[in-house]
């Protein structure tokens, strides 16, 4: 009998009629029958079938669930492309100050001057970091930033009278899935450009692809292989000469803070993932925040409202006739922005540079330690992350998924796997700068141990994980017979 073996009941199974974890004071105004206020056909007839629990039960349920999670505060989380860095505690405290957390977006501007100042300052700081000229915090995440950027690209071409011709967005084959998905969502045709043997864009192929249909190119730089594209300048020139715009997916900005700026590389639009580079927590999947910065030329297309600083105060301004409009309710995920603002202030210019230097140092160190045991698709220094191929081990019967699951037994999270698609059996490792050498060494040793296990006992890996609260889960079954809401069956999965 193992605690780990115990079924962890759903909240629905803990329900008991009559219970509640909440109480209201007696209603102190004269009461009408609800049907006097709202015609009964509009009213609910059946009782709402929510679970009924008291506060102690709810607290124990969610506390118990939380302990069934890995997290940055619990252990190493080298998930490539996700920048799982430490989330400073003071930023959480700041974001929960009532003056930030309990403020309504429609309050009169004079009652939210601190908030507007913060937004305006953060926008300016992001401009400085990106090397671009104007910023909006409205997009809710990276993918949303991409979409917003693409709307702007559309608006730009339309404004120049080329709206109908420029129908293609070029995306490298190593790109994150959101890039082509955003382009498609925006009605663009997605044109894929292959990688060259240095892991960058194949410039010759790119030259073939650009033309009057080219609306723009989306690039992550360093790209998802963790490599800075050595031809960035050429690529920018080729696209610009063809009349396209350059979009910078800033998911990997943790490699370049204070070192190189997308604007200086030639990009026209940049999104940042505040929930990666700027240390805001991922929340188990969100919320994120994906502000975008654009060049002077594109400023007029930014979503409204914009936050402006007049001589006397801060204001929200809607009057931008060429704006693409709104992409989100209200003004964006401001609570996330507050944390990023605090982070930038706590790091300062030197600190941010040290972030990137250390992120890159850490990644190269782990790469150097693992090189011998795993296949390395591109033999270059990486930036803040690197991609290994598990093909050697796969040939022995231990696929990347098996190695990933085995890592869980050792108490670390697995790297991102099977991405980017251009690398066979990919393992994408991003240590971040907030990990100590000690942790990097431990991780390296675990990886080397697993490589050894793959040689000596691949079944051990195929059957991993062995020590987690559940063992390897049947994803095929989950997808084939989807059970996506609890329907009263106890524990038969």
């Amino acid at each position: 009998m193992n605690v780990a073996d115990q079924y962890f009941p759903t909240i629905f199974e803990l329900s008991e009629p009559e219970k509640s974890g909440y109480q209201l004071p007696d209603l102190d105004v004269p009461v009408h029958e609800l049907t006097e206020l709202i015609p009964s056909p509009l009213l609910r007839t059946k009782p709402l079938p929510l679970p009924e629990l008291t506060e102690p039960e709810v607290v124990r349920h969610y506390t118990g669930l939380s302990r069934r999670n890995h997290a940055v505060d619990v252990g190493f989380y080298p998930l490539g492309s996700c920048t799982m860095k430490y989330n400073p505690k003071v930023n959480e405290d700041i974001a929960s100050l009532p003056g930030f957390a309990s403020v309504h977006p429609y309050q009169p501007e004079e009652t939210v001057q601190g908030m507007l100042q913060l937004i305006h300052s953060l926008e300016q700081m992001l401009c400085e970091i990106s090397g671009l000229q104007a910023c909006t915090l409205q997009p809710a995440a990276g993918a949303h930033g991409e979409l917003t950027g693409l709307f702007i690209i559309q608006a730009y071409h339309k404004d120049r009278g080329e709206g109908n011709e420029r129908t293609q967005i070029i995306v490298p084959d190593s790109a994150h899935g959101t890039n082509p998905a955003s382009a498609a969502m925006c009605g663009y045709e997605v044109v894929e450009v292959p990688s060259d043997d240095r892991g960058g864009i194949d410039v010759a192929a790119l030259r073939q692809l650009v033309g009057p249909k080219t609306a723009g190119l989306m690039l992550t730089n360093p790209n998802t292989l963790g490599l800075f594209d050595e031809n960035t300048q050429v690529i920018a020139d080729v696209v610009h000469e063809a009349g396209g715009l350059l979009y910078y997916d800033g998911a990997n900005a943790n490699a370049i803070l204070g070192i190189s700026r997308p604007g200086d590389m030639g990009f026209d639009i940049v999104h940042f993932n505040l929930h990666k580079t700027f240390s805001t927590p991922h929340g188990g999947g969100g919320p994120g925040s994906g502000p975008i910065c654009v060049s002077d030329d594109l400023e007029k297309f930014l979503p409204v409202p914009r936050t402006i600083c007049t001589e006397t105060d801060y204001r929200l301004k809607y009057d931008y006739p060429k704006s693409i409009g709104k992409v989100k309710n209200y003004y964006g995920n401001i609570g996330v922005a507050v944390r990023a603002y605090a982070y930038i202030l706590s790091m300062g210019p030197e600190g941010l540079r040290r972030v990137s230097e250390t992120a890159v140092l850490n990644a190269n160190y782990v790469l150097a330690r693992l090189k011998g045991a795993f296949s390395v698709p591109f033999d270059r220094f990486c930036k803040h992350e690197f991609v290994l191929s598990g093909k050697k081990q796969a040939a022995l019967g231990a696929r990347t998924i098996d190695m990933a699951k085995r890592m869980l037994d050792y108490g670390v999270h697995a790297p991102t796997i099977y991405f980017p698609l251009v690398v066979e059996e990919a393992l994408m490792v991003e240590p971040t700068e907030t990990e100590s050498k000690r942790t990097l060494d431990q991780f390296s040793e675990i990886m080397l141990q697993i490589a050894k296990e793959a040689e000596e006992n691949p079944e051990l890996l195929q059957n991993a994980p062995h020590t987690t609260v559940v063992r390897r889960l049947d994803e095929t079954k989950a997808a084939r017979k989807p059970d996506v809401r609890y329907s009263g069956r106890k524990s038969d999965g």
Partner: protein, 456 residues
């Protein structure tokens, strides 16, 4: 640097292991022209104490909802959030996790989302729900994407009383994505079946309605669904989740996709974000849902467990053919919503709705009975209504603020309010009341306004 644990001597060792002499060498692939050869022009680093002081000061320049008696709603509502919500959502085991890609070490997040999905289904009366999208507005455009792909049609009818931000977002997307928004005029009241029928056409992919509407009015959905379906379109309804505890569920009413703003469920106002968009649909659309979905399955030993499922819909697998580009969503806000619902239960949520509704009606009655103005709209409403004061709005507004009341949303200052709607509510204040408002506060506002109208 307190967040960077690599010391200089470790750095030396690491450089040696890598085989370079300096960190700079690792950046050799970034051409010199692209380097920033100066420090970033940002404020110098602050220590924690300095930062806290600075941010407290900024926060202090905002009036928070604890400091003012607020009647602001318009999509986000100042309900009481039980203390336990922040304690649980504030466990870093939850909030410092990423998307649960490695299911075996993410059962906490996964089970919580599975339960959240179920709660949303129960609340909306729908079959399936996803793990959240950014907000109500983007939920609507995601719903429209489903409708467009199901119907292969290109026009979407928006009632003019849908939240203007939602409609504005839809317009942005429609331009980018090449579909058309058509406005259905309601004047803020019920959907007239005849005009709905007129609006519906061969190319109508969906009808988007709001329950209650932006002006607080409660509309009769049941009458609508059949008409929409007969025209081959989908009915998309954007709902206030708290009021669903008393209103007929949109599922019952025949909606195909139900979305909404989840903020009222245990999430702070946060100047408008992060909140969450919830997304529920009929079973047949499961494989078209945007974003993440958690499913229940078993492990190799037969134990129950949870995984991200149906990922073939998502961008990281399907890329340009994905059902949406969404990747990060609003997981932590969804968690807060789940905890909130678990704490309140059916009775608690119903009481919140009823108290809010009763208090709103009390306030409206008091204001009108005292002759201070009238309601702009005649139909039934929930906890929000449009009041047209007799006295000068500017005068009332500034005096109320000075007296510690934020009397609502001035509709004359809402950008992008559809003209058809603007007409009927000219000079109106959109006033929301939650269970937090006490009778003393309501009476206080009424007497203040009485005084002001006597004076002015």
């Amino acid at each position: 640097m307190s967040y960077i644990p690599v010391t200089s001597s470790e750095q030396e060792q690491m450089l040696a292991a890598i085989g370079v002499g300096s960190v700079d060498e690792l950046f050799a692939d970034i051409p010199q022209e692209m380097r920033l050869n100066r420090p970033l022009a940002l404020p110098q680093a602050m220590t924690e104490a300095e930062l806290m002081r600075h941010c407290r000061q900024l926060a202090g320049q905002n009036i928070s909802s604890d400091q003012i008696v607020s009647f602001l709603g318009a999509g986000l509502y100042d309900h009481h959030i039980p203390a336990a919500v922040a304690h649980l959502v504030g466990r870093s085991d939850f909030y410092t996790a990423y998307t649960p890609y490695q299911a075996e070490v993410s059962q906490g997040s996964l089970q919580a989302i599975y339960e959240y999905q179920t709660l949303i289904c129960l609340l909306t009366g729908m079959d399936v729900a996803n793990a959240s999208v950014y907000d109500a507005a983007t939920a609507i455009v995601e719903a429209i994407a489903i409708a467009r792909s199901v119907t292969r049609r290109g026009q979407v009818i928006f009632a003019d009383d849908v939240h203007p931000d939602h409609t504005a977002v839809a317009r942005t997307y429609s331009k980018g994505q090449g579909w058309r928004v058509k406005t259905l005029e309601t004047g803020g009241g019920q959907i007239e079946i005849s005009s709905l029928e007129e609006s519906l056409g061969q190319d109508t992919a969906a009808v988007v309605l709001s329950q209650p509407n932006f002006l607080g009015g409660i509309i009769d959905l049941k009458a609508v669904a059949d008409v929409v379906h007969q025209a081959g379109a989908l009915l998309i309804v954007c709902v206030n989740p708290v009021l669903l505890s008393v209103l007929a569920s949109p599922g019952e009413c025949g909606a195909d996709i139900v979305v909404g703003e989840g903020q009222p469920l245990g999430n702070p106002l946060s100047f408008g974000g992060p909140t969450l968009g919830f997304f529920a649909a009929k079973a047949q659309y499961l494989r078209r849902l945007p974003g993440r979905i958690v499913g229940r399955t078993t492990d190799c030993d037969g134990r129950v467990g949870y995984v991200l499922t149906l990922q073939a819909r998502e961008q990281h697998i399907r890329r340009q053919r994905a059902s949406s580009n969404i990747c990060s969503n609003q997981a932590l806000n969804a968690l807060a919503a789940a905890v909130y619902l678990a704490l309140l239960g059916p009775r608690g949520l119903k009481e919140v709705a009823e108290h809010s509704i009763q208090k709103a009606h009390y306030l409206a009655e008091q204001l009108t009975q005292k002759g201070l103005g009238d309601l702009a709209l005649a139909g039934p409403y929930g906890n929000e209504f449009v009041f047209r004061p007799k006295a000068d709005l500017d005068m009332i507004w500034s005096n109320s603020l000075n007296a510690g009341y934020l009397p609502g949303l001035r509709l004359d200052q809402v950008p992008q309010l559809p003209p058809s709607l603007g007409e009927s509510v000219r000079g109106g204040l959109l006033m929301a009341v939650t269970e937090k408002r006490t009778r003393a506060e309501l009476d206080g506002l009424v007497s203040l306004w009485e005084e002001l109208s006597e004076r002015g």
